[in-house]
Symmetry: C2
Subunit: 400 residues, 2 copies
């Protein structure tokens, strides 16, 4: 059987994610890992989840174990609509689709919007998993950089020359994966203006939104757009949220919030894609969100802020000259820029061998293959002593 | 915002599934429903699931709530490999990918194999959800009918004339959704021969495999192919299994079993599509499968067999002349063929209004829009008295 002959053309663009492959390494106990956007399992509200599953079984096991509607569990959609309102996004449950994690939201948004040859605007760098999800729909990428003055006409012409149309701009807005950077309000407004000029959608990835440690919260792009237009139904922004960083990733529950016209079309993709998100997990998540969300997230913020501070201080102590890094106001990541001649992937191979420290080389986050002299460190999983020791070892390696 | 202008071309092929829309109607308490392929929630092993979630929390809540590998939870993959061996399919855990229900396996198989313009061979009729999943990848359909003598060359030429290649044949093999029919051994062997001639994959949908009530089990197509070739690694058949009909659908756990070359490529789709199937549900399902699978399925068979017998007897009593139906050896469905002038969709509208009986009109199961004078009845959900009353009312309507 010659499988290559029957695979679809998209198969050539589906490559193993370095992050996911690294996850397998983390099982080795002597590795200090700053890889992966992984929450600390010691911080999960395990007791609340345990109680929630027990309550679901006590109350309605038949419903929890049964098929359910593609849109999502109605009480959870209602809770999320109320949650979105607290972020400046007034909406109803009909504006919410529950997905199997926000990674699935990205996959379905690619599926909804991209025909082969269309163009997606993304940051250089951007979230690796978004590129992975979109690649299946064979787009071209163009660089989204709200700092430059490149005209909408130039974007449109570039996309047309490649045989398609600019369909959307994708961005992680708060404490972005991988850079830890936050888009300021002016940059968010500029994206909305460019979206109007290009008549494209805006995909706002807010996976880390709840994890702000200092500085003032900036309204989501969708909130800014509603403020301009008066109603979510008039908006082109599709907001992707996730419980993976705030409560727990193992249940695979995320959501998309946007105009009903787009959500209804995504419900059809969901129906055809996996029928619906797991019923029992939605029922348990609904209980946990209602009882502990705010308090739990406040606790996470305190712990992760300390780890961030600790990592930034260790970087100051141990990094040689020529290495620079971001100072994130939240999230899980610090982004290092190394001298131009240092290759992050080579450094990882060396680091695993001689220092037993893991991180993610930055090149994979660039759709154009640039950025080889960068790397991503996560401070979410390690305690302070481990952060000190890992950064010390990394500094030794970089100084050599 | 003109959404139609930014939707991908595939959006025009994504339509609401009548079955899923019907699920919403079932909330009305006075409806007698023979719609949906829904297991009876009263038969779920709820206690075993309750104990399994409790044990998972007692043992390792951190792992259960955390991210996990895209391939699936290793102990569950190992259990499934052993389970497949009992069906005549010797394999290892590396031949198994866990999916978010077997619907997702169908979606990912379409994604793996279909470029726009390729051809998929399907039955007339076939599982509506498979057509929905494949439609997203914009194939043409050609009719798979192992009873006819149409040559492989004719299939290949027809596909080439449409701008693509025959990529796979899809079939539900045992007590198929929607017809309840089972492919005999000779038909399975003929599909393998045609697959060799066309150098295509074979997708074997075995969702109902465990629910055989009488007659002798026929080996899965993948087992027949392994018997021919000596090893699963040489095989072109990809077997899709599901716990939804045997244990419970609400956890969304299914699997694909096949050659490692194809499974490894599907793991990349899974990684990009939703990272992985929910960790906690895989851990709970692993426990339940190990403790109750065989006994539980034996109990289901007894109950569903009685309901099937009861529905067949009621059809004998109440159906007017000119209506015929299948006699399934297992599964959940009986397939009715009405006189040619009766339209199943019109009949449903009338039935809901005057008789309060729901079923699925058959036309949606035909890729070419034929089959309007058919309908699907499920006997899985109703007790005997309800079956009697529902079939009596349907007979009245058809006699009128």
């Amino acid at each position: 059987m010659n499988w290559d002959q029957v695979f679809a053309s998209r198969a050539s663009r589906m490559k193993a994610s370095e992050i996911r492959e690294l996850l397998k390494l983390l099982a080795q106990p002597d590795i200090i890992s700053f890889a992966g956007g992984i929450p600390d399992p010691a911080l999960f509200p395990a007791r609340a989840f345990q109680d929630a599953y027990a309550a679901v079984f006590a109350e309605n096991p038949g419903a929890a174990l049964q098929y359910s509607v593609s849109e999502g569990y109605p009480p959870l959609r209602a809770w999320l609509a109320a949650h979105m309102a607290t972020l400046g996004i007034p909406c109803t449950a009909d504006n919410i689709l529950i997905t199997s994690g926000s990674q699935q939201a990205l996959d379905y948004l690619g599926k909804l919007l991209l025909s082969p040859g269309d163009t997606a605007l993304v940051g250089w760098p951007t979230y690796l998993g978004a590129l992975g999800a979109f690649n299946a729909y064979e787009p071209h990428y163009d660089r989204l950089d709200p700092e430059t003055n490149r005209s909408a006409a130039d974007y449109a012409e570039t996309a047309a020359a490649k045989g398609g149309r600019v369909k959307f701009a994708y961005m992680s807005v708060d404490f972005a994966n991988p850079t830890g950077r936050t888009m300021d309000r002016a940059a968010r407004e500029r994206v909305l203006e460019m979206a109007d000029d290009l008549d494209m959608a805006v995909i706002e990835d807010a996976a880390y939104q709840a994890l702000r440690y200092d500085g003032e919260a900036i309204p989501p792009i969708l909130a800014l757009e509603i403020a301009r237009r008066g109603s979510i139904e008039e908006c082109r922004t599709l907001y992707c949220g996730s419980f993976s960083k705030s409560l727990a990733p193992g249940l695979r529950i995320g959501w998309v919030c946007g105009a009903q016209r787009a959500i209804a079309q995504m419900v059809l993709l969901k129906q055809a894609g996996d029928l619906h998100t797991t019923t029992i997990n939605q029922m348990a998540m609904d209980r946990v969100a209602r009882t502990v969300f705010d308090d739990h997230v406040a606790g996470l913020r305190r712990t992760y802020a300390e780890r961030r501070d600790h990592m930034l201080a260790a970087l100051e102590r141990h990094m040689p000259k020529g290495v620079t890094w971001t100072k994130p106001e939240g999230g899980m990541f610090v982004w290092l820029t190394l001298p131009p001649q240092v290759d992050g992937a080579d450094l990882l191979a060396q680091s695993l061998k001689t220092q037993r420290v893991a991180f993610v080389p930055g090149g994979a986050f660039f759709a154009d293959g640039s950025g080889c002299n960068t790397l991503r460190l996560s401070f979410s999983l390690a305690d302070k002593a481990t952060i000190d020791e890992g950064i010390r070892r990394l500094g030794l390696l970089l100084a050599a």
